[in-house]
Structures are given as structure tokens and as C-alpha cells.
């Protein structure tokens, strides 16, 4: 070991100093320990930090990362377009879904499953979601006696409202045509061109 260190020119670790201050250190040390004891003892009369949970409930900010929900757009339609980005962002792989399509071309999840017994509430799915569909909410009371009850299907996840991001509708921005929004009707879109025209 030492040969190895020497070869690499690394100085050996010096031995720890032996009680440099001698008696003074001992006396001082003794009293600082007593001081610690006294100060800790005084905490007997300090205010409790404990929030007495089921009786008292803490305030949680809206961006707290609790139960995951699927929200709807301002028109009341499902926001989720089954793009699979939340599933691939999930570090524990607890999101699975299958894409389906309505006759008018909207994508939606045929089924959407989150296994909350695996979820770590990291919020990566929400960050990855391009449509604000998946959102984490401040609800944390999800404990169950049976792990199987922690598997949430789409009907358990889908809520009626828009969640934290009111007003956003993916299909108003994206170029995909759906019922009531033909080609050229999305934001920043011109009406469809006539490719047979040679006019500029």
C-alpha cells in the first residue's frame, strides 16, 4: 500500500493529532457537552413541529406532487392523446397505455393504467406531457390495504376539470384535423392551399 502511494507521489495520510490542547481541551469539551445537554433539555418546552395528521391537515401547494390525474380540455374532451411520452419518461415504468383513434382522427388512450404501488411521484410524466393532460395533484391519501387497489385505470384517473392549466387545448394548436377543426383552422394556420393552382 505505502509503496503504491509512494510510486504515485501521494503523501501518506498523517496520523490524527493526539489531544493537542491537553487538559484544557478536556475541560472545555466537558462543559460544551454539558451545554449541549442543557440546550437539548430546554427543547422539552419548545413548540412541537408535529402536525397531528388525521385531525390536522397541512396546507399543500397546488404544485405538490401527489395523486396523478388525467384532465380534460376546455371543451370537456380528454386531453390525453396517447403519445406515450409520459410512459417513456417514467423512471419506474409504472405507466402503460394503448392508443386508439376516434372516427374524426382524435387520438385518445383506449386504456390508461398507472400502477401507483410503483409510482415515485417524481412528476416526470407531467413534465413530459405535451398536452397538459397528465397532472400531479396535492392529494396524497392513497394508501390501501391491498396492493391491487393501487392499480388505477383510466376511469379512476380521468377527472372532469382542466387541472392546473386552464384554457389549453392541444388540438387548437396542432395541425391534425378533427371534427369541428378542419385543416387550416388551427392557430397560425392558413386555409388549405389548392395544389392545382400555379398562382403564387
Amino acid at each position: 500500500m505505502s509503496r503504491h502511494l509512494k510510486e504515485h507521489g501521494t503523501p501518506a495520510v498523517p496520523p490524527p493529532p493526539v489531544s493537542p490542547g491537553g487538559l484544557r481541551l478536556i475541560v472545555e469539551g466537558f462543559f460544551t457537552q454539558l451545554l449541549s445537554l442543557w440546550r437539548v433539555f430546554l427543547h422539552l418546552f419548545a413548540r412541537r413541529a408535529t402536525i397531528e395528521y388525521p385531525e390536522q391537515k397541512p396546507y399543500l401547494p397546488p404544485r405538490y406532487r401527489g395523486r396523478i390525474v388525467l384532465t380534460r380540455d376546455p371543451d370537456g374532451q380528454e386531453r390525453c392523446v396517447a403519445c406515450n411520452l409520459c410512459a417513456v419518461a417514467c423512471p419506474v415504468g409504472c405507466i402503460a397505455l394503448q392508443k386508439a383513434e376516434t372516427p374524426d382522427g382524435r387520438w385518445y388512450p383506449e386504456w390508461f393504467r398507472i400502477n401507483f404501488s410503483r409510482c415515485i411521484y417524481c412528476g416526470m410524466c407531467e413534465e413530459a406531457c405535451p398536452t397538459y393532460a397528465i397532472q400531479l395533484t396535492p392529494d396524497y391519501e392513497m394508501a390501501e390495504y391491498d396492493r391491487r387497489n393501487m392499480v388505477y385505470e383510466k376511469e379512476h384517473l380521468l377527472i372532469a376539470g382542466q387541472g392546473k392549466y386552464p384554457g389549453y387545448s392541444f388540438y387548437r394548436v396542432a395541425g391534425l384535423a378533427i371534427a369541428g377543426k378542419p385543416k387550416g383552422a388551427a392557430q397560425h394556420e392558413e386555409p388549405p392551399v389548392d395544389p392545382r393552382s400555379l398562382l403564387p
Binding site: V81, A82, C83, N84, L85, A87, V88, C90, V92, G93, C94, I95, A96, L97, Q98, K99, A100, E101, W107, R113, I114, N115, S117, R118, P130, T131, R147, R148, M150, V151, E153, F170, V173, A174, G175, L176, A177, K183, G184, A186, H188, E189, E190, P191, P192, V193, D194, P195, R196, S197, L198, P200
Partner: protein, 908 residues
């Protein structure tokens, strides 16, 4: 090797400098190809290794310097710049970087902001290139141009707004694949890629648009119906089961459903493209009505009841112990499955699952290939042929990928012109402009019109007997020691002369034929043609198409045909008949077969499909479809190729050979309990099959101790996808048969070419990443192209005797083939089924007139006691006197080749 490079010549290497480092490169390549091959990430769109360069997208900009002292440089397009000696370029030069960044920003101005709802997302070349150039934020504040989409039929979805106008689609569809219903319309930034009006894309290669398109304009419609991102697909290398070409494919699965087929590059075979039958023919695997549990009929006449696998195995073992057993194999089952059945019942009780006539044809194909002197042509070889004779085979319907290769072969004279004019072959547009309509010779001699007629030098229509006569005349013209054909008219003799001259004048003459006509004489005369060409000093190439994906494999395995088996049943010698992945109703006329099946005590069927044969079974064992099993197929060129299980299906479905292995075990016979035992046994059974062991590494193969994962490293939802069934995540299925794992874990790099489960490379998420797996662009995969050739052509031999000529009888059957419909498996999927024609009958106008029939009429056809209705088609390009019947089409019964029909019109 890019479009049309002649592989024979090698040019001396030159030195070029990229980003200050020197490389020795091939001067016949362009800078883009070379840079990609050297591992540089240079963005591009319009260049495609098979389509060449046109310089349309301006994305592959690099800075080129005049000489050593030039510090300014100028921006050039790498794909349009040849690798001259001492070329100095910089990919990382600020000018080039800025150019590339602004080009992609311009391309993205009209892009519709819909990646989450785009099937290309996550496997998109446009996404990759956008990330590569660093264009992250949209600065363009104005409005986007939009287009209206078209309905392009059951195969391809259309979303025109995503287009970046690289022109790859029309270049592939029109110039490469010869389609004419897809075009580009409009001008400037209005350009529109689509059909003149909504409608089904007619080209049999339309599915390739999905892979050719660098963005999401053309996407796979069947995949979109139950879409899953590429990173979520569990994939394994597989082989197409829909014809004898044996294209390499990459099926992808999720949630127990086969989602799509993607092309798996093979340098010598399919290259970058598949036909639509191969790409969309997979849906039968997902069929709702598939049998997933073993079923047993306990009493004659009763319904079959599901039984567990052990009971089924014990039952079959019991029946086997009683003796009087016969096994019938199948040309659509793997070598291993056929071998396992033969080993279980004994060689003297094993019959090939084809009628004696087809068996004879397959044997003839094998014999002709093995005898020589013709070299067996791979598809890459076919593309190099400078004179092609298609004899009797409608290749576009029976082996479509070969027809696409023949389309490239006729460009050989154009390449010669380009070479003479010093136009590089990758300068695709220039080479095409230079050649105009010049084509190298192609002769299509078939009973009916084919899709290749448009590029053929001459066509000839005749019944198989007539084709034999024509070929015999060519043999005579090549080798005057051979007799002339009897009774040919002057035009035909002149044609024979033209063909003989073209073949003699070619460097690489190619003869394409097959078993499609059902004519042994035709195959013999093809062999004679090769012999004659060989004796006249040419080195001919030969491509012979058998009818099914493992026809040659079963021919190598040998055994008598189906007729002998039926004879044995007829005399009451047999109690138990085991049918392996075969629908006998497609092989034997139904009345006869039904009568014979009544004589059996037990009919055992091992199959993945709910065929009429399976319906009649007393014991039905559910076998895995192609994506659920492993095995080895032998394609038309005698190449043994292994395909691998993609996923473990639900229920008791297991590989047919595993059922047989387990039955053998129950009887105390040892056929092993994994694939390798059968491969070894099969290889040991015949020296011609010995090399199948080398088709892919064995199950013991490991990379640094690890298996090769079937799932991509981003595979999502592992802890949720089974949670509704079992909250305790079940252990992934183990795979005793292959070195692949049903897992995300394992070795992702260095997989042998036969076992690459996904084409993916950092920063290259789309199929364009395939160049990272190739030795050179367009060349073989690293480690060589997968599969081993079992047949080495010999030096040639004697001529077959000249077959006697017999004029075809009036209304004698001539087989016709449909790409969508003639093949058993693919028609069982919705997408292909929607393209299948109703039963029809083709007559020459003169014949029709003589019978008093009119085109479009519904006729009742009778053959050997079987009647069916068909729509009459009258075609002047069809051989006179005979009747064309689409073989295998749903609604057309089975009967022998050459049966004389009787036709009468049905009046409602």
C-alpha cells in the same frame, strides 16, 4: 454500395480530409455517403442509399476548401460532391453549421406541431435531424401553409402538412418502383405529394413510402390502428413467410399483439424495401378467432372441447403408441418443425405436405440450382443483370421483391451510358436524364400480362406449353446441337432470336422462372437454357421461385408427396394422421379429401390458423404463428435463414416443433427440449442441410456473458402493463431456444447480423440508422449478410430431353397469381383482404367469343366436379384457348394443374 454501383470493379482509393483528419475513400462515392460511413453525423433528407442523390433538400451542407491554403471555403452539398483526390471539407465549419441550421428552420416553418399525434414520432428522421442541427425553438411568427390529406387505401396514411418536400416518395414510387398513381402537384411551397384524387395506392410496393418518407407524411395505417411507439415494441429478427424470396423483416409486438412489420436490411436480399404482401400480411397473427388452447374431440360427431396441454400431449402420445400413424409436413412450416414430425413418426411415415406434382417441381428447382452452371442470383445480383428473361412466372405476384429488382436491372444500360459520360451513378437525376428511355433487355414470357410488361423489351403470351416451345427454340439458337421446337410461327422464331442474341450479348444474363405455371417441362427447359448458355461460354444467373416460403427446405428434407399419403389412407392403412401447419384443402380437391378424412380415426392438426383442415381435426394443437416461433426457412436461392420468436403468445400456443418434442418425450423418445437439438438433428440428417447450424448463433451465444435484448432500452410500462392481471410483476419469459432475451437487459451492441433485433443508434432513432450497421452503405451488414447458402451450383451437366409438345386443350387451366389473394396467410388479415379480388376467370377475347361469353359476366366454372362462380375477364394479352384461374384466391377451389374447365354464364 449505393444505387446501381457495379460491384465488380474496384477503383483505387483517394485521400480526402474531413475536419482536419485524412481518410482513404472510394472515389466513386459522394461525400455524404463517405462521411456517414466514417461515422460522422451529417444531417440529410433527400439522399437515400437506394435512390441516390438529387440535392433537393440542401441539408447536408459542408464547407469545401479549394486547397491547403484556402481558409474561407465555400458551402457545398455533400451528397452532390464527388470524392475527388485531396478534397478538403469541414463538417463542423461555422458556415456549414449555420447553413444546416437555417435550412432546417426553413423546412420547419410549415410543420404542423403534431409530433404527439404522429405515428412517426420517436422514430422520425426529421426529429433526429432537427435535434442534430440544434433547431430547438420556433422563431417563425407567420402563418403555416396547410394541405388537405387524401385517403390512400388500407395500407398508407397521408398527412401532407408534415411534408418537407424532399421528393423521396415520388422518386421511390415512380422512378424506383414504377408506380404512376403517386405524383407531385403544385408549385413553390404549395407542392403536394399524393394522388390525382383519393384512392388506393396501386403499387405493390406502396408500403415502402412509410420508411422512405423521412417524416410522417406517409405512415403505416395498420400500425396506426393500434399504434405503439418504436421504443415500446418488442422486436426480434424474422423472415417473411409470404413467398419464397425470404425477405428479412422486423416484426414488433406489444401487449400480446403484433403491431407491424418493418424492413430488416439484408444486403443481398431485400435491401431497403419490402413488398406490401410482406409488410401488411402479418395481421393473421392477431386474428380474433385464433385457437389458443388445445382442443380434443372425444367422440365422433361431438364438438371439440378445450383440454390442457398435458392431456393433449398424452392423448397424441397414446394414439401414436397404437401405430398406423402418418405425418404430413408443410412448406410453410420451419425445417425444424418438419424434421421433428419426421423424427416422431419415422421417415417412412412422413410425407411432404404438397401434392406429388408440386413436389416434383420443387425437386426440379433444387436439382436445377444444384446442377449449375448457372449461378443462383440473389436480389442484389438480379439488380446487376444486364439481360433478363422472365419465363412463365408472374414474379410481381409470386415474388414481388424480385420484380422490383428486375426494375433496377433494366437500368444497366443507363448506368453504362452514365459511366461513359463520366456522370457518377449516384447522380440519380442526371443519370436518368441522360438515359431517357434506354433500357437493357428484358423479356417477359408469361401466360398473362404482368406488371413488368411496361419496361419489357418484348413480351410473349402463351400457355405453358408454348412457353416451353419458345424456350426450346432459344436453347436451339444458343446451342445448335439441340433440336428446334416444333411448329413455331415466324414471329415467335424472331422473338427467340432476339432473346438469344440479348442473352448472348450480355455480361450477366439472368433467367427468372419458377413453379408458378405448374409445368415440369418449363423447369427442365430452363435448366437446358442455363446449360446452353454455359456451353456457349456465358455465365448465366438463375432465379427460380418455388411456391412457398420453405418449399426448398422441405425439398431438401425430402419424402414422398401428399398423393402417396392419401393412397395409404385410402387403403385403410392409417388410423392417425398428423398434419403440421398445413391446410390440406388447399392441396387436395375437397370432395376427395373429405372422403379420405372420414377413413381416419384421429386427425391431429398442429396449426396457428383456423383452416378447414383444422376445423376437421379431432385433436387441435395451437401452434405459434411466424412471430411466435423460431425456426429455419430455406428461400428460393437455397439460403437457410433463421427467424426468431418476437413474443410469447397467450394461452397454450407453442411452437409446433415444441409440441412434437413434448409428444416425443411423453413416448420416451428424445428430440431434445429446445430448438438447438432439432437444428442439430436436422443438420445431421442430410449433408446438404449440415450448414443450417450456421444460419444464426446457437442459444448458447452470449455477448460478454449477456443475451441480446428484444426490448429497446427505453421500453416503457414494465411495472404497469401486467399490473391488472398480477400486481407482483411476473418474471419475464425465459428463452431456451435463442440468445435473445424477452427483456430490456443485455448486450445492445455487437449483435451478430442475424440477431439484430432493432435498428437504432444514438441520435438516429429512425430506420435511417441502418447505415450504422452496414459495412458500407448499401453493402452487407457488419459481419456479413445473414443466412447460409445450402446449395453450391455445380459445373452443369446434360440437357434434359426435349419435352414433347402437346397443344393446350380448349379451356385447359393456366394458373394466374395475385399478390393479394394467392397466398394463404396474408389473406387472413383485414388490410390485405380488402385488396383481394373476387374470384375471376380470364379468357382471350377469341375464346370468349367462341363460347358466347361477354366480359364482366358472372360465370359458373366447373373443374373436376367442383363448381364456383367467377367474374369473367376478357384480356387480349392473355394466351388464346386456355382459361386463366387465379390460384389460391379465396372462393376458388383446389384442383389439379391442367384440368379442363367447363364454363357457362349465370343469368340472374
Amino acid at each position: 454500395m449505393s444505387a446501381g454501383d457495379a460491384r465488380s470493379a474496384t477503383a483505387p482509393l483517394v485521400t480526402i480530409e474531413i475536419d482536419g483528419r485524412r481518410y482513404r475513400v472510394d472515389p466513386r462515392r459522394n461525400l455524404l455517403e463517405v462521411a456517414l460511413e466514417l461515422g460522422f453525423d451529417l444531417p440529410y433528407f433527400c439522399w437515400h442509399p437506394a435512390l441516390g442523390s438529387v440535392g433537393a433538400c440542401r441539408q447536408c451542407a459542408v464547407t469545401q476548401f479549394k486547397d491547403e491554403n484556402d481558409t474561407q471555403g465555400r458551402v457545398v452539398m455533400a451528397c452532390m460532391t464527388p470524392c475527388a483526390d485531396k478534397t478538403r471539407i469541414a463538417i463542423a465549419h461555422p458556415d456549414a453549421l449555420e447553413m444546416r441550421a437555417s435550412v432546417i428552420e426553413m423546412l420547419m416553418t410549415n410543420h404542423p406541431h403534431d409530433c404527439p399525434v404522429c405515428e412517426e414520432g420517436g422514430a422520425c428522421h426529421l426529429q433526429d435531424m432537427t435535434v442534430m442541427t440544434g433547431h430547438a425553438y420556433r422563431r417563425y411568427r407567420f402563418h403555416k401553409r396547410t394541405h388537405v390529406n387524401q385517403d390512400l387505401g388500407p395500407f398508407v396514411s397521408h398527412e401532407m402538412n408534415r411534408c418537407i418536400a424532399c421528393y423521396r416518395c415520388v422518386r421511390f414510387y415512380r422512378e424506383y418502383a414504377g408506380g404512376d398513381d403517386l405524383n407531385v402537384f403544385g408549385a413553390h411551397h404549395y407542392v403536394y405529394f399524393g394522388r390525382a384524387s383519393d384512392g388506393v395506392l396501386e403499387s405493390p410496393f406502396s408500403g415502402n413510402l412509410v420508411e422512405v418518407c423521412p417524416t410522417g407524411v406517409f405512415t403505416d395505417k395498420t400500425y396506426g390502428e393500434s399504434y405503439t411507439r418504436k421504443w415500446d415494441l418488442q422486436q426480434a429478427p424474422s423472415i417473411c413467410h409470404h413467398c419464397a424470396v425470404g425477405c428479412n423483416i422486423m416484426p414488433g409486438e406489444r401487449y400480446g399483439r403484433l403491431k407491424r412489420i418493418e424492413n430488416r436490411y439484408h444486403g443481398a436480399l431485400n435491401g431497403y424495401f419490402l413488398c406490401d404482401r410482406g409488410r401488411y400480411g402479418y395481421q393473421h397473427v392477431n386474428a380474433q378467432g385464433r385457437v389458443r388452447h388445445a382442443a380434443l374431440r372425444r367422440d365422433r360427431g361431438a364438438a371439440r372441447q378445450p383440454v390442457d396441454a398435458d392431456t393433449a400431449i398424452a392423448t397424441l402420445a397414446g394414439w401414436l403408441a397404437e401405430g398406423r400413424v402418418l405425418g404430413i409436413g408443410s412448406p410453410r412450416a420451419s425445417l425444424e418443425a418438419n424434421y421433428a414430425l419426421r423424427a416422431l413418426v419415422g421417415a417412412d411415415r412422413f410425407h411432404r405436405g404438397i401434392d406429388a406434382e408440386t413436389a416434383r417441381l420443387d425437386d426440379l428447382v433444387l436439382e436445377t440450382l444444384a446442377r449449375g452452371p448457372a449461378q443462383i442470383a440473389t436480389i442484389a445480383d438480379i439488380e446487376q443483370a444486364d439481360a433478363v428473361l422472365v419465363l412463365g412466372e408472374d414474379v410481381l405476384a409470386t415474388g414481388a421483391r424480385i420484380a422490383l429488382a428486375i426494375r433496377q436491372a433494366v437500368r444497366q444500360s443507363a448506368y453504362a451510358m452514365a459511366d461513359a459520360a463520366h456522370v457518377p451513378r449516384w447522380q440519380d437525376h442526371s443519370a436518368r436524364l441522360l438515359a431517357q428511355e434506354v433500357k437493357s433487355p428484358l423479356f417477359v414470357c408469361t401466360p398473362a400480362a404482368t406488371g413488368l410488361d411496361g419496361i419489357a423489351t418484348r413480351t410473349y403470351r402463351g400457355a405453358p406449353q408454348d412457353l416451353v416451345r419458345l424456350a426450346q427454340e432459344i436453347v436451339h439458337l444458343l446451342d445448335y446441337t439441340q433440336p428446334r421446337a416444333p411448329g413455331l410461327d415466324g414471329d415467335t422464331i424472331h422473338l427467340a432470336h432476339t432473346i438469344a442474341e440479348a442473352l448472348k450479348g450480355a455480361q450477366r444474363p439472368l433467367i427468372v422462372s419458377g413453379t408458378g405455371c405448374g409445368s415440369a417441362a418449363l423447369l427442365q427447359v430452363v435448366a437446358n437454357l442455363c446449360t446452353a448458355l454455359g456451353r456457349s461460354g456465358r455465365k448465366p444467373w438463375l432465379a427460380l421461385l418455388p411456391s412457398e416460403c420453405n418449399s426448398l427446405g422441405t425439398a431438401l428434407l425430402g419424402g414422398p408427396g401428399l398423393d402417396a399419403a392419401l393412397a395409404r389412407i385410402e387403403v385403410g392403412e392409417i388410423d392417425t394422421l398428423i398434419v403440421l401447419e398445413n391446410d390440406l384443402f388447399r392441396r387436395v380437391p375437397a370432395p376427395r379429401l373429405q372422403a379420405l378424412l372420414m377413413r381416419l380415426s384421429h386427425l391431429v392438426v398442429i396449426d396457428a390458423l383456423a383452416t378447414p383442415t383444422a376445423e376437421a381435426a379431432d385433436l387441435l394443437l395451437p401452434a405459434g404463428a411466424f412471430a411466435e416461433t423460431d425456426g429455419t426457412l430455406v428461400n428460393y436461392e437455397g439460403r437457410a435463414q433463421r427467424y426468431f420468436q418476437v413474443y410469447v403468445p397467450e394461452g397454450d400456443i407453442r411452437e409446433s416443433w415444441r409440441w412434437l418434442q413434448q409428444v416425443a418425450r411423453a413416448r420416451g423418445q428424445d428430440l431434445g427440449d429446445a430448438l438447438d437439438a432439432l437444428i442439430a438433428g436436422c443438420a445431421g440428417s442430410d449433408p446438404r442441410l449440415a450448414r443450417i447450424v450456421d444460419a444464426a448463433p446457437s442459444a448458447r451465444f452470449r455477448i460478454h456473458g449477456s443475451r441480446i435484448p428484444r426490448q429497446p432500452h427505453r421500453y416503457s410500462g414494465r411495472t404497469a402493463m401486467h399490473a391488472q392481471r398480477d400486481i407482483h410483476e411476473p418474471r419475464p419469459p425465459q428463452d431456451p431456444d435463442t440468445p435473445l432475451a424477452f427483456s430490456m437487459e443485455g448486450a445492445r451492441t455487437g449483435a451478430p447480423p442475424a440477431e439484430i433485433p432493432i435498428f437504432w443508434y444514438p441520435r438516429w432513432n429512425s430506420v435511417q440508422s441502418v447505415h450504422k450497421f452496414q459495412q458500407e452503405i448499401g453493402g452487407p451488414l457488419r459481419g456479413g449478410d445473414p443466412g447460409v447458402r445450402l446449395i453450391e451450383p455445380g459445373p452443369g451437366g446434360h440437357y434434359h430431353d426435349r419435352p414433347g409438345y402437346r397443344a393446350p386443350a380448349e379451356l385447359e387451366t393456366v394458373w394466374l397469381y395475385e399478390l393479394f389473394g394467392s397466398e394463404e396467410l396474408s389473406v387472413r388479415g383485414d388490410a390485405i383482404a380488402s385488396r383481394v379480388a373476387a374470384p375471376y376467370l380470364v379468357l382471350h377475347p377469341a375464346t370468349a367469343a367462341r363460347l358466347g361469353l361477354t366480359a364482366g359476366a358472372t360465370v359458373q366454372v366447373e373443374a373436376a366436379g367442383q363448381r364456383w362462380q367467377a367474374v369473367l375477364r376478357v384480356s387480349p394479352t392473355f394466351a388464346a384457348n386456355v382459361a386463366g384461374v387465379p390460384r389460391g384466391l379465396p372462393g376458388v377451389p383446389t384442383f389439379a394443374t391442367g384440368t379442363v374447365l367447363s364454363v357457362r354464364e349465370v343469368r340472374p
